[in-house]
Symmetry: C2
């Protein structure tokens, strides 16, 4: 991770200590998740150990960080956004646990550690994913609610992003696309749902926790959408350019599984240009925040430049 | 199904047309579920076909019926309880889809039809379960909310019943108990979580949708708990006494999988007495409703006497 990201973008007028931001927010999110989840010894211990194994496997907490940064951009108190940041991370983790199952991507490693089902067995891995998904809604429901955004709005926002028209739709299309020739447009459909939807939801929930205006919510939506797509394009690029060791998961897996990726469809150079353009569009979306969205901008730049 | 159940219980002063009640409520619930769920043709069609396949596989809609009956017992409008009744049925269905997976109970048949993964494959079955679970929270969030019970209360109620301390805890304990000698007390722990928790949640949510009093909620909790336990004891009995054809699923499966059941631990006769006693306790719990809980009482009696 770069110590301090200095951006040329107009959205970033001054250097921003992103490493410091990520370190403090990751610590706060980890602490909150630890508080929200039943202890590893709570009966039946197996399920709580399995849930915690994947939830505390060293995830970079990108979605929670985006959620908290969005709250700050809207002038909110990040502490109010914390349950929503944790809820989104639970959803993200559940989706990884289920995606790694033999019936899906059949992955043995994730973040350099054995996947959930390799440690706890398939049955428990299915249940641990189920439990994390359920826990996400419980945690989100524990938020305080806001004048413009009620508990109902929050739960619907989360449910729609995680549901069969977004996150799960992306996973289904991804599964069904394996071994087939698909177009750049179809690939975008998958990426929008598989990755962009939950990233977008993360920043929107952050804004909602600051009781943001409609103008702010629209700006965050555009930002989250573009950052989410860029994130997945970079993921595709890293899959073909990095080693498994560096990624902590099996590199080259997409090519091997005959999965459509940006580099496979439009080439590596053009993929890089697409990711850069999407990130630029994300910066542009931040204009209404007039310099108050430094953390969001720094995160977008970091996600573009990352090498893991 | 018995046309009309005539009970000797004091909670049932007059014959109650349970068949009529179940038929109209099942129709209402099916219609509402059809409205809440994306159409089978909505992209990606596979997931919506898979969700609907299991959701409309001929389930008896016991939990929704209990939810609506509880609303009526508390003087509420059943229409207000409908989203909650549907949410509970989505949770129940998701749990069956995942329980039937090869990594769990490995069942080929359910309600006389091939299980979800036998039709759609394991990957889609995992995702269909995930989508039904997510949909449940979305549907529940669409309820109107009540003075005593906010959307927050409703989501927490549902999340806790479905979570790692209840429904999922029961499934984990069930998985871990296979092939081991367990005590009647441990079996009760499993049954309380695997079955009773969601049944109890169904009647509680029904009461909440009628803005019930604390006294009513306490009565419904006791009723739901006892009916839920009786339900599972009867399930265990039917597994050893009925044919697969009649049950629409593989009979004798529990014995074969060396799963602990009431008949295996305390014998068939004592199991029947336990189920009857639990149902009697459920009747007793209904006293505060002074004859207004006829549908609930008839359902409890029906669940005790059922042969499928």
């Amino acid at each position: 991770m770069a110590a301090t990201v200095k951006s040329s973008s107009s959205a970033l007028p001054a250097p921003f200590d992103l490493a410091g931001f990520l370190a403090t927010r990751t610590a706060a999110v980890n602490q909150a998740l630890d508080r929200f989840l039943p202890a590893a010894t709570t009966k039946p211990a197996t399920i709580h150990r399995a849930m915690r194994y994947s939830l505390f496997a060293g995830g970079k907490r990108i979605r929670p960080a985006l959620c908290l940064a969005a709250a700050a951009a809207c002038g909110g108190d990040e502490a109010d956004a914390l349950p929503l940041a944790c809820a989104v991370e639970c959803i993200h983790t559940y989706s990884l646990v289920h995606d790694d199952l033999p019936a899906m991507d059949n992955d043995d490693y994730r973040r350099g550690k054995l996947t959930n089902h390799k440690v706890f067995g398939e049955g428990i891995a299915v249940l641990a994913g189920d439990a994390l998904l359920t826990q996400a809604f419980e945690i989100a429901a524990r938020c305080q609610g806001w004048p413009r955004y009620s508990h109902q709005n929050i739960i619907l926002e989360l449910g729609q992003a995680a549901g069969s028209l977004q996150l799960i739709a992306g996973q289904v299309a991804d599964l069904e696309g394996e071994g087939h020739r698909i177009s750049a447009r179809q690939l975008r459909y998958i990426h929008e749902r598989k990755t962009s939807a939950l990233l977008c939801c993360s920043v929107r929930l952050g804004g909602m926790s600051a009781n943001c205006t409609q103008v702010q919510l629209k700006a965050l939506t555009s930002f989250g959408y573009n950052v989410g797509l860029a994130f997945q394009v970079i993921d595709d690029i890293l899959d073909v350019t990095q080693t498994s060791e560096k990624l902590g998961k099996t590199a080259g897996k997409d090519t091997k599984a005959q999965k459509a990726t940006y580099p496979a469809i439009v080439g590596l150079q053009r993929s890089r240009r697409i990711a850069a353009r999407l990130t630029q569009q994300a910066f542009t979306a931040l204009r209404p925040f007039r310099g108050k969205a430094t953390a969001l901008a720094a995160l977008a730049e970091y996600l573009l430049r990352r090498d893991t």
